[in-house]
């Protein structure tokens, strides 16, 4: 039975089209993972919005038009205006940019910091590993929002402290993963062989261990992107993230917007739709990436 399974797997591997080139690869992806591709398209659209926000905007996002306050959706203001007459569509574009910057930077910090830490303690083991694991335990015992709040209280509310806070909250998860992978790689034959031929330790870690942890690492980072953006919007909504007059998708829904929600519901509808689409896109894209890079996790 085992034999059969192995043969089957080989057959599947062989049947997989090894077509090279961008277009055939894309066709393969669309056929194999339609939902994931859709998520990928949403992610690309979001990135485009983040990069070209200025080119796409109709007005300056922080410029008030006092004569047009709380205007509903029309041909001038595509998503209406807020209590200062600021164009919500333009604010939404810039808010998306902020969410993207915070989400991606936070995950970059968490992946680099947490990921490398996981590899180092996984490789070293011993007392260092024990101490770091206890700290990771402590960090993971906090509800995520609370942990982020501690950092924001310490550093004050700014874009950078927000990025750092969310990065710190996410890093224990990622370090757990890379540590676990490193622990299993460390015992493999090729590591012993490399050591036997006199490969130096830094080289051993960088050339032989690190490349083999990349796949679960990417999977984890993609999966956490949606969570990071959700955390950013929640913190900004609570008023301890991005501050007025700058827009972030969450801060567009704070108490100020709440006061006007009954007379100008469009103020609170659009930003929420934007966050949901963004996180949904990232989540299903992340699922597809996980399925393709790590088939064992499929359907879980």
């Amino acid at each position: 039975m085992n034999q059969g399974a192995t043969q089957n797997e080989t057959a599947v591997l062989e049947r997989r089209p090894r077509k090279t080139g961008f277009l055939p690869g894309l066709v393969f992806l669309v056929r194999r993972k339609p939902l994931g591709t859709f998520g990928g398209v949403l992610v690309v659209l979001m990135l485009l919005v983040a990069v070209f926000a200025e080119a796409m905007q109709n007005f300056d996002p922080i410029e008030p038009h006092y004569e047009d306050r709380l205007v509903n959706t029309n041909s001038t203001y595509w998503m209406g205006t807020d209590q200062f007459g600021r164009d919500l569509y333009s604010r939404l574009l810039h808010g998306t940019r902020v969410s993207i910057i915070v989400g991606f930077s936070a995950i970059a910090i968490a992946s680099l910091g947490g990921g490398l830490l996981g590899i180092i303690v996984g490789y070293r083991g011993g007392v260092l590993d024990l101490i770091v694991q206890r700290i990771v335990d402590i960090l993971m015992a906090f509800p995520t929002i609370i942990m982020a709040m501690v950092v924001v209280t310490a550093l004050g509310t700014s874009l950078y402290s927000l990025i750092f806070a969310i990065g710190l909250v996410q890093s224990p998860n990622i370090s757990r993963i890379t540590r676990a992978v490193t622990l299993s790689i460390r015992e493999r034959g090729y590591i012993d062989s490399a050591r036997a031929v006199g490969v130096s330790e830094p080289r051993l870690v960088l050339r032989h261990i690190l490349p083999n942890t990349i796949s679960p690492w990417i999977v984890m980072a993609t999966a956490e992107l949606g969570t990071a953006i959700l955390t950013e919007s929640t913190l900004s909504f609570l008023g301890i993230g991005i501050q007025e007059p700058n827009a972030s998708l969450g801060s567009m829904l704070t108490g100020l917007a709440q006061q006007y929600r009954n007379e100008a519901p469009w103020m609170v509808i659009w930003p929420g739709v934007a966050i949901s689409i963004a996180v949904f896109g990232l989540n299903i894209f992340g699922d597809a990436v996980r399925d393709l890079l790590d088939p064992r996790q499929r359907g879980r």
Partner: protein, 318 residues
């Protein structure tokens, strides 16, 4: 079991002490001391002498480790200091806010348990039917929608379609239970949606495993009705692995509770904490966070001990 208990309690204590140090140092050391931060925000033109006097008043001129010990001692004496913003004892604010959060959390937990068992079981028994797909797709989509926005949208929808507004001013349960529940049920449900989605998925997969077991087939073969098989034979056994999950959920629920308190204007710990963070009211923030860490560690400890009690292998391998 005794050895395991001792070890586990010891680890929990280390975690609590460790996080209290972590909290203290993150709050004090990184940005310079809180007085400087506070003054920088207030932009008061204080002289250096006045500032030093203020530091001494808050004990900030002592070496850091002495400040830490003093804080721990104060907390143990149940005197965690004076709120910098409200100018009253932190404990007083805590005492007032605690019942709100406790009630919200308890109701939320009940919602999580009831709905996740219900949805998880139904989707497992009716695997791969339209019902299963609808619930699963809703769960995936629902996890992408921020809790606070769901709250706002529900409030708006109720207002527009039914002209209904949730009671705005907090009423304690003891004064008017009906109004109080009317006020709490909706926020508790919205705050628990994420946890329901996560737990229902676990119940579903645990249930699917059990439904494959021989004794379930035997029960069907005996001619028992499906409801009896599912309720009495399968659910009981599927519940074991997820029972401890609800403990962990309790910690995750707090994320939802914070947000829901702000959206629905309930004066609980979450709103207290958010206000304190925004104003950098560090005595309040420190105390609230310490309480939440102690609470989280206690829950984790309980979860582990329950595990060990249910499954002897755990305490042996540890």
């Amino acid at each position: 079991m005794k050895a395991y208990l001792a070890k586990r309690v010891g680890l929990a204590l280390i975690a609590v002490v460790g996080s209290s140090i972590l909290i203290f140092f993150i709050m004090r050391v990184i940005p310079g001391d809180p007085i400087t931060a506070l003054l920088a925000q207030a932009e008061l033109g204080l002289t250096l002498e006045e500032r030093d006097a203020m530091r001494a008043q808050f004990g900030l001129d002592l070496p850091v480790y002495q400040q830490y010990l003093k804080w721990v001692w104060d907390v143990l004496r149940l005197d965690p200091g004076i709120s910098l913003v409200r100018q009253n004892p932190v404990l007083e604010n805590f005492g007032r806010a605690f019942p709100v959060t406790a009630e919200l959390t308890i109701i939320s937990l009940i919602f999580v348990i009831v709905f996740s068992l219900l949805l998880g079981t139904i989707t497992a028994v009716r695997q791969d039917t339209w019902l299963d797909y609808v619930v699963r797709v809703t769960a995936i989509g629902g996890l992408a929608i921020p809790v606070f926005w769901i709250g706002i949208m529900v409030i708006l929808a109720l207002l527009f379609w039914f002209n209904y507004t949730n009671p705005l001013v907090y009423v304690p349960f003891t004064r008017d239970p009906l109004t109080n529940l009317q006020q709490f049920l909706l926020p508790a449900f919205i705050g628990s949606i994420r946890s329901i989605a996560i737990c229902a998925r676990m119940v579903r997969s645990s249930m699917l495993d059990i439904l494959d077991e021989d004794y379930v087939r035997t029960a069907y073969a005996k001619g028992l009705r499906e409801s009896v098989v599912v309720m009495r034979h399968a659910l009981k056994n599927a519940f074991m692995p997820v029972a401890t999950l609800y403990g962990v959920t309790l910690i995750g629920l707090f994320n939802g509770v914070v947000v829901v308190e702000v959206v629905f204007n309930l004066p609980g710990l979450g709103r207290l904490l958010v206000g304190a963070v925004a104003a950098r009211d560090y005595p309040t923030v420190q105390f609230l966070i310490l309480v939440s860490v102690v609470f989280a560690s206690f829950i984790n400890l309980l979860v582990d001990l329950t595990y060990a009690m249910l499954d002897p292998r755990v305490r042996v391998s540890n």
